[in-house]
Amino acid sequence: MSQSVSMMLVGGLVRMLQGFVQAAPTLLVGLMIASILRYYLGHQGTRRLFGGDSVRSLPQSWLVGMLLPVCSIGVLPILFEMRRAKVKPGAMSAFALSAPLFNPLSLLYGLTLSRPFVIILFAVGSLFVVTVLGFFWDAIAKRRTLSVTGDVDDLEDACEQDHLIGLRRVFATVVHFSREATGSMLGVTLIALSGLALLAAVLPFGAMQHSVERDDWWAPLRMLVVAIPVYATPMMAMGQMGMMFQHANSPGASFALLILGTGLNFATPLWFGRYFGWKAASLWMASLLLVVLTLAYAINKPLVPPGVEPAGHTHAFDIYANPLSAYHTINTETVRQTVSKDLDVSVVASLGILAIVVAFGLLMRMLQIDETWLVKNAKAGSFASSLKTETLATRRGLDIVVPRGVIGATMLAGLVALSVVACFAYYPSPDECLDEISLARAECLSAANSGQLDHALFWLPVWEDWSRRLEVGAFIRAGEVRPYQRMQGYLIRKKLELLEHELEHDPFEPEETKQVVREILATNSRWVRSFHSLGCGD
């Protein structure tokens, strides 16, 4: 299938806007973590967080990456600070790749998608990849004799220098956070998202639906090529993997998508190239592709869940192809509607916060308020180390200056704890999920029966999303999702997909659609009661 140039351009624009919308929450988190590293953990604390020079630096960086909720764009400002703190290049590589792959939210989601061991296997696979790459990157860095030793001396000096404390440090953090949001990070974000535009231009609507079948020998290689320009948030990647498992697509292709699509974007290799040299970055990239491809083919055995009849296609990668088909009218309204489909509460809130942060950052830039200004205008009492020499009364009892590393570590631990708490908010109790499902079901099925296709197609993915949240919500509260519940969930999603196909038939076939709706209602009754009888919230 071919597509017109106008379709390529508008499709690319839509994909970039969708990518930006999806990136907003994790980009904010990434900027916040970068500021915490800079002002609270400092150079030494940051190096310690990522394992310093010890052998455990690679797995430790992988683990830190697994816990922090950032995406492959949000990880870039953190990499800036890691480089500033002279963290080992291998650890930076490990963190850069692993942080976007998993976070507590996406890991929990992933555990309910297929057999849990598959996701655990993927996580272990990612550890293997980042360890191999990390060793390789460290070896390159050694050969290129990066001036780590000299810089460490500088660091030690820097640690002896004055640094801000109290509210002034909080203000410095906010200033840095907001200025970064308006600086080079915007350009980096655009580069990262340009990969999505390129894919939309190259891949016509629905072009990837039959490209990664389980018996297709080329599927992992094909996915490897497509995944390089892909930008995907951890949750999006998990959702796609869920669809791939549901359709029994190639596991090797899933793995390639997870590591390359989620782990990096167009800006990641460019970032490494800029700071470590293009030759070294090319070698790093080539090694990454080789390791991922080898592992992808090693695990590329059919993975068909019991009782599942694969559909022979998947919509998991529709998101990377052009969103516009020949049936779409190309105008601003189409762009607006397509992009606004992705706007949920968390995204809208994040975009709002990002807008405020950017406005504040621009104001700070206009007023020329930055780190240097803050240090220059600080009084002696604003500096932690100056307290030692000041002629102030001796601090007693609990009146102490808490080391900034302690505050920084507490903040990061708080962030991790917050993301664990967020799991319970994002995946509510089964009763709450069932209430939401009841609403989505009523909207979707009544619209489908009455031929309001757009309305039905809007609520259908909402229902599907809540079906996943229901399972995760039950899992984190009851400790399990029973096989019967899992099977009913599978059936409801399978039938929802059938309904989606019926709704997209041209011309619309009302009788066939009503038949699918009747079948969905029957399955829905069994599915809903299986969770009610669980006892959650009853």
Binding site: Q3, S6, L9, E309, A311, H313, M487, R529
Partner: protein, 160 residues
């Protein structure tokens, strides 16, 4: 929905002055080997999706009928063995798509899981043990099919 072709100069979004976008698009075209042209007319975006295999069972009882027919075939061809494996692996899904209660569904699920694993371990060969286990599975399916109620039992809470 009728297909609308729009010339580039009719595009409403930023296409008139940004020539570099055109260069980018042309570059993408060259790279991808795509060319602008008419889309093929089609009646559905998903024309060939979700076609059921010929041996897909019509209901739970049909699974045992189909399994027994294949077990009693004089020559167990590779295709036949693959169909047996399919039928066993579909048992849980087909049974779950009925009003069979969870309590009655669970033994079927466990038996089909175990049978699927054994068939895969046997790598296509139908061992006497597997044959015997398949017979037991057929009996279990028959028993379960007889238990399927016409309607779901009364359930008071939360269903709409």
């Amino acid at each position: 929905m009728p297909k609308v072709r729009i010339r580039p100069d009719q595009l409403p979004i930023g296409e008139t002055t940004n020539r570099w976008l055109w260069f980018l698009a042309v570059g993408s075209l060259v790279l991808a080997g795509c060319a602008s042209g008419e889309a093929q007319p089609k009646t559905s975006l998903f024309e060939d999706d979700h076609e059921l295999p010929l041996h897909w069972p019509t209901d739970v009882a049909d699974i045992s009928v189909k399994l027994r027919a294949r077990l009693s075939a004089p020559d167990a061809s590779t295709e036949l063995l693959a169909e047996i494996e399919d039928l066993v692996s579909w048992t849980a899904e087909v049974a779950a798509d009925t009003n069979l209660t969870e309590t009655d569904w669970l033994p079927l699920y466990q038996a089909s899981e175990s049978m699927t694993a054994n068939l895969r371990n046997a790598k296509g060969a139908l061992t006497p043990e597997n044959k015997s286990q398949l017979e037991s599975l057929c009996n279990l399916i028959d028993e379960a099919a007889a238990k399927i109620p016409e309607q779901l039992p009364q359930f008071s809470k939360g269903e709409s």
